[in-house]
């Protein structure tokens, strides 16, 4: 995670080939993003969605990728996050991307989440993606935390994560 000078941070949360397992695969979700008062909003940017990678470049059939933003339901400070600790957030927190073999790429897609509202004020958010074909799609996802309000708050309340 990189701090930016303007009460914001950014990190890569996923880069690779999502698996075809929608529920449990550790390889299909990114690094959890902690929610703090300093960055009450988190913008997820999903880009570079494309068919093929390395040996399968030039895939000849369509593929579909699903992605979700999930919230942590079991908060255990200091413990490693596990997929089972997270649940779907209802509302517009997911997407479906169909990549045609005739176009090969798709995106970018952006999802701006009110993280405080989504998590109830603590915990973390998780980017999760899965594909109709575990070998066909490549994707990159970035999260940006931002939106902290300095008015009326002590500077100590804005320590960057």
């Amino acid at each position: 995670m990189h701090n930016l000078g303007s009460r914001a941070w950014v990190r890569g949360v996923y880069e690779g080939q999502p698996t075809s397992d929608a529920t449990t695969s550790d390889g299909a979700f990114g690094t959890p993003v902690d929610v703090t008062a300093q960055n009450p909003r988190v913008l997820f940017l999903i880009h570079g969605v494309k068919l093929g990678y390395d040996s399968v470049v030039g895939a000849t059939s369509d593929a579909t990728m699903h992605w979700y933003i999930m919230k942590q339901t079991t908060f255990a400070a200091g413990s490693d996050a596990d997929f089972t600790d997270y649940a779907d957030i209802t509302g517009a927190t997911h997407g479906v991307i169909a990549v045609s073999s005739s176009t090969a790429t798709s995106g970018p897609y952006m999802l701006d989440v009110n993280a405080i509202k989504a998590t109830g004020g603590s915990g973390s958010l998780l980017f999760h993606a899965w594909s109709s074909d575990a070998t066909k799609l490549w994707v990159t996802a970035v999260a940006i935390g931002y939106g902290g309000e300095s008015r009326g708050n002590d500077a100590d309340n804005f320590v960057s994560v």
Binding site: H2, L4, G5, S6, R7, A8, V10, R11, G12, E15, R41, L43, L45, H47, G48, K50, G52, Y53, D54, V57, A104, T105, G107, P108, M110, D112, W138, T140, V142, I144, Y146, G147, G148, E149, S150, R151
Partner: protein, 160 residues
């Protein structure tokens, strides 16, 4: 790439503005220059936290903030070397004095750099009142299609 921070996945991020924009559209203090390469052909600007700075400094009338992206192929980072990009590359927000405690934003501006400039783009922001508005602006370079029919030599990561 100067102050940009590279990420692992062909993305860089940079805080491009943090403070009170001046009322001079051409002021050196009011803009930031970004350099593009093939690995990050798009730049997303997030303009957020727009507000009157503090209760004591707050203006006594409505104020308006403007932002715009400029393009140039010139290496010299001087305001005069850039020209405004037409289209959806600018924004305006009016902060009402009657709502002094309110925070405006975020506003997102996604620019396909290849469409406008082969070299540099510049983010410029200015205010109708140099003391009345505070804002934070972050830029994210992204969008490279990694290793998909593009020679690896053309996908050089942005330097840290």
């Amino acid at each position: 790439m100067g102050m940009e921070r590279s990420l692992s996945n062909y993305v860089w991020a940079k805080a491009v503005y943090d403070g009170l924009p001046t009322s001079d559209q051409t002021s050196d203090g009011a803009y930031s220059v970004l350099t593009m390469d093939a690995s990050t052909p798009r730049v997303l600007f997030i303009i957020h936290g727009i507000k009157q700075p503090t209760a004591s400094d707050a203006g006594t009338s409505d104020s308006t903030m403007y932002w715009q992206v400029y393009g140039s192929n010139c290496d010299a980072p001087d305001f005069t070397n850039y020209t405004a990009i037409t289209g959806a590359t600018h924004g305006i927000v009016t902060v009402l004095d009657s709502a002094a405690a309110s925070v405006y934003g975020p506003y997102l501006l996604d620019v396909d750099v290849r469409k406008y400039s082969a070299g540099r783009i510049m983010f410029n922001i200015f205010s109708s009142d140099a003391t009345a508005l505070e804002t934070h602006v972050v830029a994210l370079g992204y969008g490279g299609v990694v290793n998909h029919g593009i020679p690896s030599s053309d996908i050089v990561k942005a330097a840290a």
